[in-house]
Amino acid sequence: MTQLALVIDLNVCVGCHACVTSCKEWNTSGWAGPMSDFHPYDADPTGTFFNRVQTYEVGEFPNTETVHFPKSCLHCEEPPCVPVCPTGASYKREDNGVVLVDYDKCIGCKYCSWACPYGMRELDEKQKVMKKCTLCIDRITDQSLPETERKPACVLACPTSARLFGDVHDPDSEVSVAIREQGGYQLMPEWGTAPANHYLPRRKTRIRIHEDELVRADNPLDKEAIELPDEQGETLDDVAW
């Protein structure tokens, strides 16, 4: 079975919000739209978003790190939001595992949003139905688009390629390899929701260099200077091959 998902690389994300704006642009004008805004140019702007980027500071100064944290529906493999829906408006697609809301059936009771431990669902205050990330279902399933463009808008927009998209059930897919080889992890694993989306952790590349790798003990240029404890013939380093 296919399970489409995003893999988000926190080591690469620079927190530019390009994914947020391109998500809103694509989806507000598409199948999932409108994503209504209220007083966008006033003191208290608010509106519907499927994707947000948050920023955290980890550690105590001066040993701090800034972590940008994109947050959207994780398309859980055991989505707690689906069985609680009284109307069946919330469902998980059999063919690709994307969790969706049928906006014509939703009664706006908000029960599913209570049942998502991550707070990934938002009620659209204008349309009065529940909304959340669709993985750009109208894009990724559109056969008229060239293969390379059949990806969520956020993935295409990300200038640092921090967002990978693919089938996490296919062990050889780009996303599966990334999860396996770069320590991909899930959010709040304690609730057994088995989120399909994974995050790649911050990673440091360090090489260990020992002192004697920097200084050659028997440098021939220093030969006279070095007082050898006892007579020593040519070392292997002096042999010209």
């Binding site: 978003f49 947000r52 980027v53 955290y56 009284p86 069946g88 939703c106 009664i107 991550y118 009065k128």
Partner: protein, 326 residues
Amino acid sequence: MHPAFSVIFLTTLIGAGQGLFLALITGQVYSLANLLAPQDNVRFYAFGSVLALILLVAGLLASFFHLGHPERAWRSAARWRTSWLSREVIVLPLFMALVAAYGLIHYQGWTQPLFSIKGVVDIDASLIAGVLAALLAFALYVCTAMIYASLKFLQEWHSPLTVVNFTLFGLASGFTLAAAFSAWIGVDLVGFYGAWAVAFTLMAAVTRLASLYRNARIKHKSTLQTAIGMRHTTVRQKAQGFMGGAFNTREFFHGRGDGTLKLIRYVFVLLVFIVPVILLGVAWYIHSSWLPLLAFGAQYLGLLCERYFFFTEARHPQNLYYQSMY
């Protein structure tokens, strides 16, 4: 969680309506067993059922204010296999229909025995409708409470105590109302219903205080560390992804200070458990016709506070992503 008044009114009104109906049928069963004097069909049972129905309809109306699309409410019966909300939506109208039938049977006086068990216990149509409705009343308590208790990561709600509390609160307020109703129309059942009401109120006090105790000491499974997957003891949020509010900050935070919540807690403990018991006791002693009504009023007001507090108690793990709201 943010307390929604639609849901507060829904759960308290139907709880009391169910309780009142259970009180009526208890009275009927007692009189069938010759433990109580039989009551007038119309004045007591039919009007009592109407009163219960009024509460149920008012609760149902309140619930519509919770929906974004009330005109589609009929759709919510679809997923009864998995959703407790769907089950509630099915059981509530069924229960209302049976209460209406029960009231009508009494009003029309169709209470001639249909058959009798061993020639001792006479079974009539009202008893059949009443017992079925009583079963549904209990089923409805379970459905309503399980809507909250089934959400496992809302740890304050995810406990059998939630179901017990909803049931006992409904029974307590229903039997208090039954006592008030009897006192008002001058039926000699105030002592009977009052005693039951006091018993249920005291039981509810024990279980609710137990859940308050449990919730005050609860250890949450999710932390900011598991929420974003950063293994460090110091994690500070610098930006939450928006400047104004969002659904996430409106729906899941109650926005009340500790002082206010403490006050609400004291008020509900006083109004739900202490005041009604005293008033019912005094009413029984001085044969007052209006004190039980006052007892019900106080208890219902207290239950509104209790339900408000119930919502503010629950801390949703999604709140971890909005540290500045704490």
